[in-house]
């Protein structure tokens, strides 16, 4: 069945992005036109790429094509297989939402910022992302990877007059190049072993890879992809860079750009490196646990709405790594079926996180658009002026907290099941690691729920804090449509999880040689069950219907059946003081105070209180309160590293004297040494 036009649709999608890039740049003098061209072509590209992904997944067999470039090792090779199709589908869902959202969102740029440049960078980002997911040549992959990093840099520093954005951009570009460096070395190792830079040849040469080569390649790739994915301790750029970008870009950065790291791990670890030893899987699993727990703990301390969401990306990458790590361990211990379940858990969480994180960032973007602040302590009560945004954000918050019946629950449930199975399937110390990881996942889930209670309630509920919230308005219609689309996707992937799961069959067959989709679904296609006969079962569809069946009659009975259902409005109890004001409300800082105390060993909180008294020490005139937590990784790990590099560069200055004669001498010496080396051989 080679008749589906996968390649053609894919190429048309790329064309749409390319046209979008140049058309919006060319029309930069006419902002309204540039905006429509930019968003319109992005919608077109998303629809085409989405169709290509669906066709590619329907086709089942990989579609490959390659154009020789004339340069050795480099070729324009593409492979549209199950993994590529799946990630392109995720990308297309997000791009559709972001592009529709941007129709209104970019309006405020008109006359103030260059929409042409924005469109160019935006489309370059989309183009490079699509190519990263489909390229089948190491060098094409690296070029697309680099373009992606540069386009993202341009977008992170788009508000370049803001020093915070410039600093974040610098940090981002340095980290991005560290990861490109690691990947380049890793690919060099593989290319040397296989004699070609095609991914397919890596797969064939994997069996002949010596164990030390394999280990070195694993470390290099894991380092490179972890930096991109924001795994702790390589995460410091992520909470700095994601919040400062325009909100529609933040949603793509956290939604899909960091997932390229996950994609790379799935592609290289399962396909190109052969069967990795157990310690590799254990490393991935442990770093996953660390990222998940620390990510959510740092998120709890944030009261900048977008930074909070950025830390949650780290947490969710950790959850994905738990699945990936388990899959790696199961593969080497000879449990391909469990490995397939764990891989599905990881990949399902990848698309789920992409969708609800994109939704939450777009929601935060609407709040920022309407109120002009990301500081939760200045927001509040937004559910009244912005009911639709609030509803979409609430759905995203429930989904990201892993609560049933939405999509986050399904992938976390699968992760739990594979961790639970790990205890029986492995031996020795690895065995005890799985249940511990499971309990840490439980901790992560509960802390995430606490964090999103804070994020939603402080931003949207109760009384407005400060002046910003009083003149706010609901987001324009196109922004609501973009968020609504993702809200629907969250609900569908949650309630209809069993209909979506067969999508993973081709991917697990490609990476692990195992199809488990059919065994995951039982009883009329509504119940999800892990393959083993006594494993758990769950059905989000029935949970959803059950909740509805219980809620509707209860609501009916209580409101109609009760003899007197009288609802009067009255003031909230204000402790007898005159009138409840926003000073009485709990703040975000106060909400997380208990956890700050409990985990004080991690946070090292510091606070400063200065009170000014007028007459009596019982009635302070004003109080100055300052509280901060220690940025452990920045202070303990990166600051010494930076000092070391600076020390080294100062020493190097002795060599770099600035004199042309000295440089000529260096060149001459190098030449002589090289000639001697060459003539020796």
């Amino acid at each position: 069945m080679n008749s589906l036009p996968v390649g053609e649709t894919f190429a048309l999608g790329l064309l749409a992005y390319t046209v979008g890039a140049f058309a919006s740049l060319a029309s930069w003098r006419r902002p309204a036109l540039a905006r429509h061209l930019c968003c319109g072509s992005a919608v077109a590209g998303a629809v085409l790429e989405g169709c290509a992904a669906i066709l590619g997944l329907l086709q089942g067999t990989p579609v490959r094509w390659s154009i020789s470039s004339g340069v050795p090792l480099f070729a324009y090779s593409f492979s549209y297989d199950a993994l590529a199709g799946f990630l392109n589908l995720t990308l297309a869902i997000l791009v559709a939402a972001v592009a529709i959202y941007s129709f209104s969102y970019l309006k405020e740029f008109e006359g103030r910022r260059n929409i042409g440049i924005f469109g160019l960078l935006f489309h370059l980002l989309l183009l490079s992302l699509t190519i990263v997911f489909t390229s089948a040549n190491a060098f094409l992959f690296l070029i697309a990877w680099e373009v992606m990093a540069l386009a993202a840099y341009g977008l992170v520093t788009f508000y370049h007059e803001d020093p915070e954005a410039r600093r974040a951009g610098l940090l981002y570009i340095i980290m991005a190049h560290m990861d490109v460096g690691c990947l380049l070395l890793g690919f060099a190792l593989l290319t040397q072993a296989s004699g070609s830079a095609e991914f397919a040849s890596f797969h064939l040469a994997a069996a002949g890879l010596s164990s030390s080569h394999q280990a070195a390649a694993f470390v290099l790739f894991f380092l490179g992809f972890s930096i991109k994915a924001g795994v702790i301790p390589f995460h410091i750029w992520l909470p700095a860079a994601h919040p400062v970008a325009p909100s529609n870009i933040s949603s793509l950065l956290s939604g899909i750009v960091i997932k390229t790291g996950i994609y790379g791990m799935a592609r290289i670890f399962f396909d190109a490196l052969g069967v990795l030893p157990a310690w590799a899987g254990v490393t991935v699993l442990i770093l996953g646990v660390v990222s998940a727990v620390l990510g959510v703990l740092y998120a709890l301390m944030e009261h900048d709405l977008k930074r909070l969401l950025a830390y949650h990306s780290i947490e969710n990458i950790g959850i994905i790594l738990m699945g990936l790590g388990s899959a790696l361990i199961f593969r080497v211990t000879g449990h391909p079926q469990l490995a397939a379940v764990a891989l599905i858990a990881a990949m399902f969480h990848t698309i789920n996180h992409a969708i609800f994180k994109c939704l939450l960032f777009l929601g935060a973007g609407s709040v920022l658009h309407s109120t002009g602040t990301r500081n939760m302590e200045k927001l509040g009560g937004l559910i009244r002026p912005m009911p639709v945004t609030a509803f979409c954000f609430l759905i995203g918050a429930v989904a990201i907290s892993g609560l049933p019946p939405l999509n986050g629950f399904v992938s976390e449930w699968l992760t739990y099941q594979s961790l639970l199975a790990g205890f029986g399937a492995t031996g020795g110390l690895t065995r005890i690691l799985f249940p511990i990881a499971g309990s840490m996942l439980a901790l992560t889930g509960a802390l995430a729920a606490a964090c999103f209670v804070k994020a939603f309630a402080i931003t949207f509920l109760a009384l407005p804090r400060g002046a910003e919230s009083s003149r706010v308005h609901e987001a324009p219609r196109s922004m609501l449509v973009g968020m609504g689309w993702l809200t629907l996707a969250c609900a569908f992937l949650g309630l209809g999880a069993t209909w979506f799961l067969p999508v993973f069959d081709a991917m697990t067959e490609q990476l692990l040689g195992m199809r488990v989709g059919a065994s995951l679904i039982t009883s009329n296609g509504l119940v999800l069950s892990v393959g083993t006969p006594h494993g758990g079962t769950v059905s989000t569809a029935i949970i959803g219907i059950g909740l509805l069946i219980l809620l509707v009659p209860t609501a009916f009975l209580v409101s109609r059946g009760a003899r007197r259902f009288v609802r009067t409005r009255g003031p909230t109890w204000d402790c007898g003081l005159p009138g409840l004001s926003d000073d009485n409300e709990y703040t975000a800082t106060a909400f997380s105070k208990a956890l700050r105390m409990i985990f004080s060993a991690l946070y090292q909180p510091r606070r400063e209180i200065q009170a000014v008294f007028d007459v009596s020490p019982y009635y302070p005139k004003e109080i100055h309160f300052e509280s901060e937590i220690e940025p452990t990784f920045e202070k303990r790990l990166y600051a010494p590293l930076q000092d070391l590099i600076l020390w080294f560069s100062t020493r190097m200055r002795a060599v770099q004297a600035g004199s042309v004669h000295a440089y000529l001498a260096y060149i001459f010496i190098t030449l002589v040494v090289l000639l001697i080396l060459v003539s020796r051989q």
């Binding site: 009384l463 209580v558 259902f565 909400f591």
Partner: protein, 313 residues
């Protein structure tokens, strides 16, 4: 399909009736141990009946979240109650959600309850929500470890499978791993149901209250729904403990004779567990909030030891 519906309706009725009873029994026992007369076992029913017939006051500052919360709290608790074996090993909805779904559905209820607490704009609501989310977050890993231990010995996270496996080897609870897991889960039960030494269900003092602080602005039918939901949640967690560790009397079918015998055994087991809770409540003082993590750390370590002993013994 029809069978599942009929079973669900029977279990739902049982659940709605037994839940306030257990609350009443605990209160009465506690009163007797403290040499008070107590309000009588039927008091929770009278409270609910009265509250459902009263009018209510909704705070000016509250949004639709405040009004939706009581239904969600009640609905999630009732749904969870249908997934858990009460008198027969075969719970009506056990196929559609195992122990993980139970934990996460209860978390959904808690999520909305915390939102409802914050929605009023009162400091008490925020205080209660903050504490509730904190305590539940640190109780969660301990709970999951203990649950994992049981799930591993039953080879399933499905609650009916867990009960069935417990029935097939009814003295399993004497194994060290099961004893440790039970102790861990018991501490979690205390924390999750808001009892001394973690929270005091009888207080309205701002320094100590957790659960009550979130409900401060609720009145009338909404309060009734939340209180009823809370007692169902308590019953569900107690059932989880008695039926997965001590499966005596669990009927293997839905025949009337088996069910009635099962019901008698079930009520007896609940009574015993209630006695344990009452003893703990009466002999302990409430802990300071920041000492609670230490108690839950004990539960976590008990869970970890339980897991390790499953493959040592």
């Amino acid at each position: 399909m029809i069978e599942v519906l009929v079973k669900s309706v029977i279990q739902l009725i049982l659940l709605l009736l037994v839940a306030p009873l257990v609350t009443g029994i605990i209160r009465t026992l506690k009163a007797r141990l403290q040499t008070r007369r107590g309000p009588g076992i039927g008091q929770p029913y009278r409270d609910l009946f009265k509250l459902l017939r009263k009018g209510m006051v909704i705070p000016n500052t509250a949004s639709w979240i405040f009004s939706a919360t009581p239904y969600i709290v009640f609905g999630t608790a009732a749904l969870v109650g249908l997934m858990i074996p009460m008198t027969a090993t075969d719970a009506p909805l056990s196929l559609f959600g195992g122990v993980l779904a139970v934990v996460y559905l209860l978390a959904l209820g808690r999520f909305f309850l915390a939102l409802g607490g914050l929605d009023t704009g009162s400091s008490f609501g925020g205080l209660g929500s903050s504490r509730e989310m904190t305590i539940s977050a640190i109780a969660e890993p301990a709970m999951m470890l203990a649950i994992f231990t049981v799930a591993l010995s039953a080879n399933s996270t499905n609650l009916s499978e867990m009960a069935r496996s417990a029935v097939s080897q009814s003295w399993r609870f004497l194994a060290p791993s099961q004893i440790l897991a039970f102790s861990g889960l018991f501490i979690v039960l205390i924390a999750e149901t808001g009892r001394i030494p973690v929270d005091n269900p009888a207080t309205h003092l701002e320094l100590t209250m957790i659960h009550e602080a979130m409900l401060l602005e609720y009145s009338g039918p909404y309060l009734a729904l939340i209180e009823w939901g809370a007692s169902i949640k308590q019953l569900v967690l107690m059932t989880l403990l008695v039926n997965t560790f001590f499966p005596f009397g669990l009927s293997s079918s839905w025949m009337v004779s088996g069910l009635s015998l099962g019901l008698v055994f079930y009520l007896l087991k609940l009574l015993l567990l209630a006695c344990c809770i009452v003893l703990v409540e009466t002999t302990n003082a409430k802990l300071r909030l920041f000492r609670v993590p230490e108690l839950l750390a004990v539960a976590f370590i008990l869970g970890a030891l339980a897991l390790i002993s499953t493959f040592l013994f």
